[in-house]
């Protein structure tokens, strides 16, 4: 096991960093070109439809979640089955702003249905874009900080930790389902109109949001790369493999875990905030336990502990999903389960590990 891990650490080197960078550069160029193609007139043969752009943008947001999950699972050994919650919280924070924009001076539509007279206190200031953006980070960040602080202080590990994260997102979903919670209940937020005054469905807005998503993903990838290659990253790996040895070296593992845990939640929050205006809806189903489990499948399939692998995994699984849900809508979950079993049994280091093996 440990020797495998040691080898997987060197995957990037073996695969040829230059080739990897080459492939990456091509992909980034394509992703940056897509929004421009969307701006072309609809008759143009190279025009990209809003549907395609939204689909790819959505998958890029999921890729950010996969990256965030890889940081905690692949590098710190913390399998979170609740990352969907952080994603959704970021999404809801953005959604609050969009609802306020759509409602103008009045209350968001769903509050009228509930016959509410005024905004709940936690909606205060959400009409300001900057405060909403702060909430995108604060909501998932603070929740992760508090949850992580108590979980790591109590030395909750392994399966127990995973179950607690799963319970957390489930509890979040139940809470947000209630109308009284003040987030639109079952239906969540939708019918957005404008973002900073720009029509949410205008090609220019879509293209901008997409470009921002690509840049955010690149930024998070760079941040993760720096983190995992610093001494901090090495200590994290050490905590994953021999926590008590780390303590006897004088490092406090709780703090090291808490830091990456919060960083990971923040990345999810940003991903959620970019997702909502592109997809045009956020509701409690984003917090459903299966969503978070799916994220773990992306990471496992792509290859955890490799940063790049999980991005691949998110792309492939979601690509397959969008095809499946059109072609065989009833079988997607079976396929997902099968995929998980196959990966666990035959691809312990995921596709990225397989690529490395092919070459060596």
């Amino acid at each position: 096991m440990s020797a495998h891990q040691a080898i997987s650490l060197r995957v990037a080197q073996t695969l040829g960093q230059r080739r990897l960078l080459g492939i990456g550069a091509v992909l980034v160029t394509i992703f940056l070109a897509l929004p421009l193609l969307h701006l072309l007139p609809a008759e143009h043969s190279l025009h990209i439809s809003a549907y395609t752009l939204t689909l790819v943008g959505k998958i890029l947001c999921y890729a950010m979640v996969a990256l965030a999950l890889d940081l905690v699972w692949g590098y710190a050994g913390l399998l979170s089955l609740g990352h969907g919650l952080f994603f959704a919280l970021g999404g809801y924070a953005m959604g609050m702003y969009l609802m306020r924009e759509a409602a103008g001076d009045g209350l968001p539509a769903f509050m009228h249905f509930l016959a509410w007279e005024e905004l709940p206190w936690y909606w205060t200031g959400t009409e300001h874009f900057l405060w909403a953006m702060a909430l995108v980070l604060l909501a998932p960040g603070l929740l992760a900080l508090v949850f992580g602080y108590f979980a790591f202080r109590s030395r909750i590990k392994g399966v127990y930790f995973s179950i607690m994260t799963q319970a957390l997102t489930f509890a979040g979903m139940l809470l947000f389902f209630r109308n009284e919670t003040g987030f639109g209940g079952n239906n969540g937020f939708t019918d957005f109109k404008t973002l900073l005054g720009f029509s949410i469905s205008a090609p220019g807005t879509r293209a901008t949001l997409f470009t921002l998503t690509v840049l955010a993903l690149l930024g998070c990838l760079y941040l993760s790369w720096r983190l995992t290659r610093s001494k901090y990253g090495r200590i994290l790996t050490a905590v994953r493999d021999a926590e008590s040895r780390v303590m006897f070296c004088g490092y406090d593992p709780q703090r090291f875990k808490l830091f990456i845990w919060v960083v990971s939640a923040l990345i999810c929050g940003v991903a959620g905030a970019l997702y909502v205006p592109q997809v045009g809806i956020i509701n409690p189903s984003e917090m459903s336990p299966t969503n978070s489990i799916e994220a773990a499948v992306w990471v496992a399939l792509g290859g955890r502990g490799s940063l790049i692998g999980p991005l691949l995994g998110a792309g492939l699984v979601n690509g397959a999903k969008s095809w499946f849900t059109v072609a065989f809508p009833d079988y997607w979950l079976f396929f997902l389960g099968l995929l998980f079993i196959v990966v666990t049994l035959f691809l312990p280091r995921g596709i990225f590990g397989l690529l490395r093996k092919e070459r060596s």
Partner: protein, 274 residues
């Protein structure tokens, strides 16, 4: 063979910040680095340590011997904060109450430990293992910004040479042999520069030459550091220790030079069985 007269000078790494140095300057006016009195530990009613009392002097090299299950590892667990004693007092120096401190605080205060089963960071290279153990600021913030100074790097290189792993520095530690892992863990203790070193069966799995070398290394550490070594290998114990403690059923059975304790009737009875 590379002779151990390349004395590892532990206490004296320059470039260590004064604050760290101060934290390590232990209060030991009476020359006792470790005081254990009347320590009791039980697991589900089974007494692993039974009214154990033990003192270790500053600069002393103490060997602890005893049959399997005597409580030697449990004793180290108590000292390092891994196991809380049910009762008894445990002091590091005059002022640090070990029963009130957690593992991290105890390690920071200057107690280092080598585990019975060699425990290194297998996914990391030999060099990185030493880098992590190195005595320095161990906060999250510092580790995010950390870059090795030239002095720290040469300190690591020096220890790599001492433990004879200079040609393995980039190898993942998980791929080392058992004996090499033992040496790596000892090397990690060397760069950590603790005041008190606890070594649980350090020469298990080593060749005779390696054992001999380790004996020289430990002897060179004594004086500047205090060492507590648990070993079953009697020739090794004979080579290093002037003072030996025999543990049996969680209590001290005998104490003295190796010859003395080996001549002790109760010790003979315990070791030869009844």
């Amino acid at each position: 063979m590379n002779q151990p007269n390349s004395q590892p000078h532990l206490g004296e790494v320059s470039g260590v910040r004064p604050a760290l140095r101060d934290r390590h300057s232990l209060n030991t006016p009476h020359g006792t680095v470790l005081t254990l009195e009347d320590i009791n530990v039980s697991f589900d009613g089974f007494k692993a340590l039974n009214a154990l009392t033990l003192y270790i002097g500053v600069g002393e090299l103490r060997c602890i011997i005893g049959p399997n299950g005597a409580g030697k590892t449990t004793l180290m667990d108590v000292i390092t904060g891994k196991t809380r004693p049910d009762s008894g007092t445990a002091f590091f120096g005059e002022t640090l109450d070990l029963t009130q401190m957690n593992e991290v605080a105890i390690a920071k205060a200057g107690i280092g430990r080598k585990f019975q089963k060699p425990t290194v960071f297998e996914a990391l290279s030999v060099f990185d293992n030493l880098e992590l153990a190195l005595k320095t600021d161990k906060s999250v913030w510092a580790s995010l910004r950390s870059r090795l100074t030239g002095e720290q790097r040469s300190r690591i290189e020096e220890v790599l040479t001492t433990i004879k792993l200079e040609n393995q520095r980039q190898r993942p530690a998980g791929l080392l042999s058992h004996g090499q892992k033992q040496f790596l863990e000892i090397g990690m203790l060397l760069v950590q520069e603790p005041q008190l070193l606890l070594l649980d069966e350090p020469v298990a799995g080593m060749t005779d030459a390696e054992t001999e070398f380790t004996a020289e290394l430990f002897k060179s550490l004594a004086g500047k550091h205090s060492l507590m070594v648990v070993e079953h290998d009697m020739s090794f114990v004979g080579a290093i220790a002037d003072h030996v403690t025999v543990l049996h059923q969680g209590s001290v059975l005998a104490e003295g030079s190796l010859d003395e304790v080996q001549a002790n009737d109760r010790v003979i009875e315990v070791y030869l069985g009844r």
